[in-house]
């Protein structure tokens, strides 16, 4: 598909799905994390299972060169910060956008925080850390 049409269509679908799943609701996310409601946890696990099956024919026919995601020193501390932040503001990166679209404009503050945090880490990494900066950009 010609870009940016593919990007835009996927984005629309992603926002639509995330809103319907309930990830854009702080309450739903909180119930998932407090284990009061297993619906979204099950959805997540089911999605991962389906994907692992979906990659099989894609690997077979398309031979994609997907990046290896190894363990590096940033994984654990980074994920601790991410998990804590997600529980507080109820949003992983794309969710803030869905919230804004739904009219939960507090998502704009979350998005601002995400940009600032991402910026801060990039500065910190250059100054103090020696391992190669991995990023989702490798995908």
């Amino acid at each position: 598909m010609r870009e940016p049409t593919g990007t835009i269509l996927t984005g629309l679908l992603f926002g639509f799905v995330l809103s319907n799943v309930g990830f854009s609701s702080w309450d739903e996310t909180h119930r998932m994390f407090t284990l009061d409601d297993q619906r979204m946890l099950l959805a997540f696990a089911f999605a991962a299972l389906l994907l692992s099956l979906a990659w099989v024919p894609i690997r077979k026919w398309q031979h994609p060169s997907w990046p290896h995601r190894g363990v590096h020193p940033g994984i654990v501390p980074g994920s601790i910060a991410f998990g804590a932040g997600w529980a507080l503001c109820g949003a992983c990166p794309s969710i803030a956008l869905v919230q804004v679209g739904e009219g939960q404009l507090g998502g704009m503050l979350t998005l601002l925080g995400m940009l600032l945090g991402n910026y801060a880490y990039s500065v910190l990494h250059e100054r103090y850390f020696r391992w190669p900066a991995s990023s989702c950009m490798d995908d």
Binding site: E28, G78, T110, S122
Partner: protein
């Protein structure tokens, strides 16, 4: 709230990841798009490492193959000066390898620009608006439409949102991925870094949420 059942939700999420791969030639990674935008601000357009080294090499190789590889089938008269003899002398040259590796089934992967990331983000928001409109969930609030969040954050709501967002932005860049890149695309490919990251951020999310109190 009228949300999808777990199986429909899972099917929806998995479908989006597959569609993203087929439509863009990349696995979905939302925090990577945020990183790209931040790099654009930090380094400006010229120095933005929009393509990784691997992607750049791949793109150069593909462009080379498209430009010169096709000429193998054509007559020598069309060969640019200097390339013809090399071809005949070394049939197993890297260009031939590239030609074999160029898989027509592979989704096209072009270089991304900053506008692509902005388009994606706006599209996600519009997708949310569509879903909320159809599902009767549209709202208008300067905070979050959540009683639980209001109870816990109170007057500090804006501060909590910025701090929480900053932790998410900082953490996903440090860990090299978020819920889509590590959590779905990485875990489903059984990548060790993604499995560890997902186990950690879910566990910490559970711990912090339990500290905040029951819903």
């Amino acid at each position: 709230m009228n949300h999808w059942s777990w199986w429909l939700s899972g099917l929806g999420l998995a479908s989006v990841m597959v569609v993203h791969w087929l439509a863009t030639g990349r696995l979905m990674a939302v925090s990577g798009r945020i990183t790209a935008l931040v790099n654009r601000v930090r380094f400006g357009a010229s120095e933005t490492p929009e393509m990784t080294e691997q992607e750049l090499l791949e793109a150069v190789r593909m462009a080379t193959t498209v430009e010169f590889g096709e000429l193998e089938a054509a007559t020598d008269s069309h060969n640019p000066p200097g390339l013809g003899p090399e071809k005949s002398e070394a049939p197993d040259s890297p260009a031939d390898d590239a030609h074999q590796e160029l898989n027509p089934a592979l989704p096209q992967m072009g270089p991304r620009t900053t506008s692509h990331h902005v388009f994606f983000m706006v599209a996600v928001a519009v997708g949310g608006l569509l879903a909320a409109s159809l599902g009767g969930r549209t709202t208008f609030t300067w905070s979050l439409a959540s009683n639980g969040f209001r109870d816990f954050a109170g007057n500090l709501s804006p501060v909590i949102l910025v701090i929480g967002g900053a932790l998410v932005g900082f953490g996903t860049r440090m860990a090299g991925g978020c819920t889509s890149g590590h959590g779905l695309c990485g875990v489903s490919r059984f990548q060790p870094g993604s499995l560890l990251a997902t186990a950690v951020f879910f566990s910490v999310g559970v711990g912090v949420s339990l500290l905040l109190g029951p819903s």
